[in-house]
């Protein structure tokens, strides 16, 4: 039996959801809330959005680690994907790249009738 990459689409979908959520929150934080704090002297928005982004980034780390490991992304790229959640706009780029990688590697394998085994990591 041939073994090919099969990664559950839900793994991709929840990563994409978290990537968009953290990316939008980070943009709001950096370009709205922090200017409000320092230019207008209103720190409340930065406090709320910063806290929210902080906790959601932890969730992002979890789902991103799951997806990148199952897609067998090389370690260096994996770290960049994890860091992308802390740099404005970078999470969008990472999301596009991983989605393309998923479509390129998983869908053709499925079309060829291969068994996909993303969960097996060769332990």
């Amino acid at each position: 039996m041939d073994t090919i990459l099969v990664v559950d689409r839900r793994v991709l979908v929840r990563y994409r959801f978290m990537a968009y959520t953290t990316a939008v929150l980070l943009i709001v934080l950096v370009f709205v809330a922090i200017p409000l704090q320092f230019a207008a002297g209103k720190p409340e928005a930065a406090r709320v959005v910063g806290t929210l982004h902080g906790y959601l980034y932890l969730v992002y780390l979890g789902v991103a680690l799951d997806l990148t490991r199952k897609l067998r992304v090389p370690l260096g790229w994996m770290l960049l994907v994890l860091l992308a959640g802390t740099v404005p706009f970078c999470a969008f780029v990472a999301e596009r790249k991983l989605t393309k990688l998923y479509d390129r590697s998983v869908a053709p394998a499925r079309a060829l009738g291969h068994v996909v085994t993303g969960d097996q990591t060769g332990r």
Partner: protein, 138 residues
């Protein structure tokens, strides 16, 4: 399946990859602990945001441990770009090479023209080779 029966790598805890992971972890976890302590002192001095980060940093430390554990226990041959390439090659070998349909006109033309026959053999060889460079999306 062949992949599951593969023996784990011999130097799991002492390979170059694992040693680098140990080193990074040995810096990362104490770093997170220090950062946590720093945030606790900030929180105690009155900034409530410090409590958020004093939860965050231990979480980063735990995340580092999870990543380290995975790095040490993964067989590098089955993860990353190398693993994907190896899986593709295995699949390519497992798939039977389809023989091109014998067409009388083609074989007649090849019998007459040795150069054409050689060129067709070359094309067949290219088709058989996996991972040949192509502009087409796979």
């Amino acid at each position: 399946m062949t992949r599951q029966s593969r023996r784990p790598p011999a130097g799991r805890w002492s390979s170059r990859r694992a040693l680098i992971a140990h080193g990074v972890l040995a810096i990362w976890v104490p770093g997170c602990v220090l950062a946590c302590w720093w945030q606790v002192t900030i929180a105690l001095s009155g900034d409530a945001l410090g409590w958020v980060y004093s939860v965050m940093w231990p979480s980063f430390a735990v995340f580092g441990v999870v990543l380290w554990w995975n790095i040490v226990h993964d067989d590098p041959q089955t993860v990353g770009a190398r693993g994907l390439r190896r899986l593709r090659e295995e699949a390519e070998r497992a798939r039977p090479v389809e023989e091109p349909a014998t067409d009388d006109a083609i074989s007649r033309a090849e019998a007459e023209d040795a150069e054409l026959a050689a060129y067709n053999a070359y094309l067949a060889e290219l088709r058989r080779r996996p991972d040949t460079k192509t502009w087409r999306r796979r």
